[in-house]
């Protein structure tokens, strides 16, 4: 990160925009603001503002579900990882997402939807009571605005490096735009714009992969070039190098990928992070709510084509070799610049503007996701729960609107704070992960185990979170502790994150089970609509096969396995 700042100060810009490119970008801003103004008239009630009227089709909810996760840093970061680690980065799109998304749609969505909760902390309140809700709402609200600010700063830095734009200009213009359209139309506006942004991201980025494959001579030509230019390194196999920590550039083994990423982190993020779950809760009926993550999973599975492939193509066709942040010097480009470099390689005026618009759209969709989720959790799970219980619906809508502005302002404040203290970046990324893994343990036990008690849920969540923080601090204070956390002294940062998540989830589950068995359970009548075995889930037997979510989930999982075998 410090070298990125140095690059921002000293380097010349990577790309120059023509008037046509600027017009493409301006048209985008006009459109997203126009959508916000148009939708204001449709967001009168709390249900409209915070849950888009619970009226979204499966397609809109599904695309928005994926787009909210698809920030521009996600695009640029994973393209950079693909250049650095090769096709291994695809694990974050396939095993690190697809099974969890399908599980959300098929298993968990009925409980979220039938309970009529407005948020994940709201579900915890119904299932475990106020303490668990308060813990998760406060941690989620805090982390969301911090992450939003960090993303905002990183994006402004990237725009400075790529286009030479002033950092303050990028921060204020993009955040005011997001604040305006979410303020006006709430979640409805955020979702509509996320769908638009999803199209722009695909249409702006796919051109790099298409032209890159043409230049490299197709997939086999690309693989041949990579082997020729990078002898002795395996960049093109997903699983065959994961036998040990030292056999792959990521320093991780298959167990870390399958259990840490594929199970705990992935399931934690995709099934309990309210930023994404909120999009699915806006679906118009249970079938749409179940189909939305399944539809989203199909697009998620295709994303490596526009995110990972450009990184691999860069390994094959870029004449220069990119370097890590720590080695960046005068004239050398870093891994993080791989996507803009490929954009500059293939795109002339017009297409360049479209590509930059895709990056801006990615940033704004991620930020709008953060801000709208923050406004909902703050208004319903903190303000209404602990400050003012009996106000009118219009009062909460008003609070939600101003929370949007507050969330953006705090994010901007965080962005400037990060500018002063860059080391915060490393810690907040880790902080965010502290809450995800234990929260998944708490939610999944709450949904599938009737015996889980309010005390068990609260203490499991708290202990799992504290254990995760403790493990992080232990390795920071004594790096040799990595051999205990990640089971190998050769493990790298990525492996540490995976294993820390796994242990904190296990600790959360054990504590929840032990405390639950020692405390009094809720009567079954209070668990209706919240827990498996106490909830009547509507049958889909009357639907034709191709309309059943389970059928499509099976189709997706078969494609998932086939892809993993093809790229084994």
């Amino acid at each position: 990160m410090p070298s990125l700042v140095a690059a921002a100060i000293s380097s010349e810009k990577l790309l120059s925009l023509s008037p046509v490119d600027l017009l493409v970008i301006v048209l985008y801003f006009v459109m997203v603001l126009g959508i916000g103004f148009y939708l204001k008239r449709y967001t009168k009630t709390g249900e409209d503002f915070f849950l888009a009227g619970r009226d979204m089709s499966a397609w809109i909810a599904g695309l928005s579900f994926v787009a909210a996760n698809l920030g521009s840093l996600e695009l640029m970061g994973w393209a950079a990882s693909a250049y650095q680690y090769g096709i291994l980065a695809t694990h974050w799109y396939w095993i690190g997402a697809i099974p969890a998304m399908l599980f959300l749609g098929v298993v968990m969505m009925p409980f979220y939807y039938i309970s009529r909760t407005h948020s994940v902390p709201g579900y915890l309140q119904l299932r475990y009571g106020e303490p668990a809700r308060a813990l998760s709402a406060i941690s989620f609200g805090l982390m969301t605005v911090l992450m939003s600010g960090i993303n905002m700063f990183s994006m402004a830095l990237v725009m400075k490096i790529i286009l030479g734009w002033d950092i303050n200009f990028s921060i204020w213009v993009s955040s005011i735009t997001v604040a305006a359209y979410v303020f006006l139309g709430g979640l409805l506006s955020a979702i509509f714009n996320e769908v638009l942004q999803f199209f722009l991201i695909w249409l702006g980025a796919i051109i790099i992969s298409v032209l890159g494959l043409v230049e490299a001579g197709g997939w086999s030509g690309m693989v041949h070039r990579i082997h020729e230019r990078w002898p002795g390194q395996d960049y093109t196999h997903l699983w065959s190098g994961l036998g040990s920590f030292t056999a792959n550039p990521m320093g991780i083994n298959w167990a870390g990928i399958v259990l840490g990423l594929g199970f705990v982190i992935s399931f934690g993020y995709w099934t309990t992070d309210f930023l994404v779950v909120q999009r699915v809760l806006s679906a118009r009926d249970l079938r749409s709510a179940k189909m939305a993550p399944i539809i989203g999973s199909i697009f998620k599975m295709a994303l490596p084509f526009i995110v990972i492939l450009p990184g691999l193509l860069a390994l094959a066709v870029l004449p220069e070799k990119l370097v890590g942040e720590s080695q960046a010097g005068a004239g050398a480009h870093t891994y993080n610049e791989v996507l803009p470099l490929m954009l500059a390689r293939y795109c002339g005026p017009g297409l360049l503007g479209l590509g930059i618009t895709a990056l801006i759209a990615g940033f704004m969709s991620g930020m709008a996701g953060n801000v709208s989720a923050f406004a909902t959790v703050w208004t319903y799970d903190i303000y209404r729960a602990f400050m003012r219980r009996d106000a009118s619906d219009s009062h909460y809508v008003s609070v939600g609107r101003w929370c949007t502005v507050l969330g953006v302002l705090v994010s901007i404040g965080t962005a400037y704070l990060v500018m002063q203290f860059l080391s915060i970046m490393d810690y907040v990324q880790a902080l965010f992960s502290f809450f995800i893994a234990p929260l998944f343990g708490t939610v999944i036990l709450g949904m599938l185990w009737k015996r889980a008690t309010p005390a068990g849920g609260f203490w499991g969540l708290l202990t799992g979170t504290l254990a995760s923080i403790g493990m992080f601090a232990w390795v920071k204070g004594d790096p040799s502790a990595l051999r205990y956390i990640a089971l190998s002294p050769h493990a790298k940062d990525m492996a540490e994150n995976m294993y820390r998540a796994l242990w904190s989830w296990i600790i959360c589950v054990i504590v929840t089970v032990v405390v639950s068995l020692a405390t009094k359970p809720k009567p079954e009548s209070q668990l209706a609509g919240l827990v498996y075995g106490a909830t009547e889930i509507p049958s889909e037997g009357h639907l034709p096969l191709f309309k059943r979510p389970l059928f499509w989930a099976c189709v997706v999982i078969v494609i998932f396995f086939v892809l993993n075998i093809i790229f084994w």
Partner: protein, 73 residues
């Protein structure tokens, strides 16, 4: 007013409008470049990606624009 009621403009229509505008803009730029090639052309400039990709955008945009054009009932 209610979403999906009469008069509600679908998101797909907005997408159609923006993609059509981009399609026109980028295709015209591509044709202009045929007559006045840039001083530093991108790699594979000979494929004229700006023209055909602009046309793809225009085609997708028009499909959505026409299909979801708000109509009075």
């Amino acid at each position: 007013m209610h979403m999906h009621g009469p008069g509600f403009i679908s998101i797909w229509f907005f997408i159609g409008v923006l993609l059509s505008a981009y399609g026109v803009l980028i295709t015209v730029t591509g044709f202009y470049e045929l007559g006045s090639p840039p001083a530093n052309p991108p790699v594979l400039f000979n494929l004229h990606a700006t023209i055909w990709w602009g046309m793809v955008l225009l085609a997708i945009g028009l499909v959505y624009f026409i299909r979801f054009l708000p109509r009075k009932k």
